[in-house]
Amino acid sequence: MSTDSATVTRKHAHHFKDGEHEFQSSILGVWLFLSSEILMFGALIVGYIIYSGRYPEMFAEGAAFLDKRYGAVNTVALLISSWTMVMGVRAAQTNNNKAVVKWLLATLFFASIFMVIKYLEYSHKFHLGIYPGKFFAPVGEAAGLDASTALYFSFYFCLTGLHGLHVLFGMIGILWVLLRARKNEFSENYYTPVEGVGLFWHLVDMVWIYLFPILYLI
């Protein structure tokens, strides 16, 4: 099969047999890293579940205060971004660097929607004096919140904050891949970074799929 004439040919590192060997190893490495990430988020989510079992009323009161519409829009945005990411990987596998750029831009767009909405949610809460833990001092429409809900919002900020950081890291990764795609670096023989960043991005989406119901819905 003929490849894009502008595609840069690339040599695999000396300790691998060939490009395929290098690809398989790198993707295994990414999966191992993702398992590490899952354990990290897992611990925090377990903490959340323990406390919500211990203080169900306080967690219900806190959750009722979150705006489900924001959460739902964000869920949809991330789900679509996962689809655009997959299309980007597919484009790399079929030697179409232009399409990679296009799909990754779309992914970045939906990721930005997520971050903007997150920013709106956070600033709304700060505005009402809803800060984590000991800085919790609700005013205005939040004034009725029980002081104990501070702990619920601590979890809210820790979980979404850590997840938000991962969205940011993911966006940086996508941008890096995008710039490389503009230089026509990817082809059916070499698309490891696209695949790797893609896997990371799916994990970030997946974590949100868990965070949305436990924080907003239950």
Partner: protein, 529 residues
Amino acid sequence: MGSAAPGENYLNHEKGLKSWLTTLDHKRIGVMYMITVLVFFAMGGFAAIMLRTELAAPGPGVLGEGGVYNQFMTLHGAIMVFMVIIPGIPAFLGNFVLPLHLGAADVAFPRLNLASWYCLIIGAAITMISLFYHGVDTGWTFYTPYSIETANGTTWVVFGAFVIGFSSIFTGLNFVATVHKLRCKGMSFFRMPLFVWGLYSTAILQVLATPVLGITLLLLLAERLLGVGIFDPKLGGDPVLFQHFFWFYSHPAVYIMVLPAMGVVSELITCFSRKTIFGYRAIAFSSVGIAVVSFFVWGHHMFVSGQSEVAGVIFSFLTMLVGVPTAIKTFNWVATMYKGSIQFASPMLYGMGFLFLFTIGGVTGIMLATTALDVHFHDTYFVVAHFHYVMVGGTLMALSGGILYWFPKMFGKMYNEFIAQISFIFVFCGFNVTFFPQFILGAMGMPRRYFDYLPAYADLNLLSTIGSYLIGTGFLILLYVIIDGLRNGADAPANPWGAKTLEWTAASPPIHHNFENEPEVTAGPYEYR
């Protein structure tokens, strides 16, 4: 594979400090880890000597009142755990030996390997910043709520430990991928040396357990900086949750420390007994078995923290279960030595030291796993003695033996065997003089972590302090052996011990790409007789 010019090896392949700091060669990174670990070991060891000097007699001693003692105790623990014992065998010996064991040219991700070293250095530097902020006095376990309120230095140490965690994750990730993907032709899983099995089990723990410590330390930082209250009882949080999180990592971390040590010992025992290892598969699977079970035993650190009795019984049972694969290993090593042609070379002495001391450490671990005894022993010197028998008597013994065993391969020089044996005698005897009395002190009820004690404990404490000086002397002698070997050692042949694993078929020291031609394996790793 490229062919090297005669006399060229990985040490003189490139020259200058920059070529070291930017190297991607696993052997050079291993050597950099060696220097790093030795420097930290000297620091942690200095702190230990100061602690024992303070404890030589009751009443305020060389460290004055308790505050300084607490800082030294914390530094000793944090440095030894996070910067010496955890990276000690995997990142230093493992880095150097693993690809050679497998017949590979490098680890799977050389850049990540270098990054892991920088994470360790940066994390250590951040930890040291704490010294300028009134130090840290929480002990290496950072228990809440005290760690939320105490001196500012704590923030830096916690952050430093978080960064060092990445070093550990990167190493583990790299090793798992290397074992799966970079075995040479003919190197099936059951032809891998047992050190590789040990490293592999360790690496899985590093990848899966360390992130839990990461999030725990992040939450502790959030606690200190933002007051989130998750571990703070004043805000409705639960300090025991911190203990659960912390030990979910830190108990597997104990096996991160000891599994690679067991791997080293498997190499030493079989090589110097000149005999095929007894029960290869049993040892290999018991490494994996220990790794799996180790995830489900953390609750034994909380027998007296208000955890339910049912949980206590379950954790007690699971903890004792760890004894089974450990005993399988020990019996297999002894059976390997049975009717072997044993050479009492210094690496073997350290290996046998491991067997002796680790068994005592392991059996006292079973004692502590019984809930009824633990109520009496917890937070006494019995616990201190127990984990030093495992960490020092186990890991550091194997590390010392491993350094001597692979020294000729690393640097192409032989060391002074006689002085190395003297160092063993000092370390081994000193170790027992230091820590055996602590079992008795603990059984008498002497609590750990205090700078002062009742006069009734004075004699045994003095004995323990004298022993610690003997250990210090022993390790100084070992350091002399290394330096003297580097400077004056005779050139080492490719295979000075007559060992059968692949690294000994490479030159001493190996060339940049390890092997002239990719090796092909046709038999197991220990075909002695």
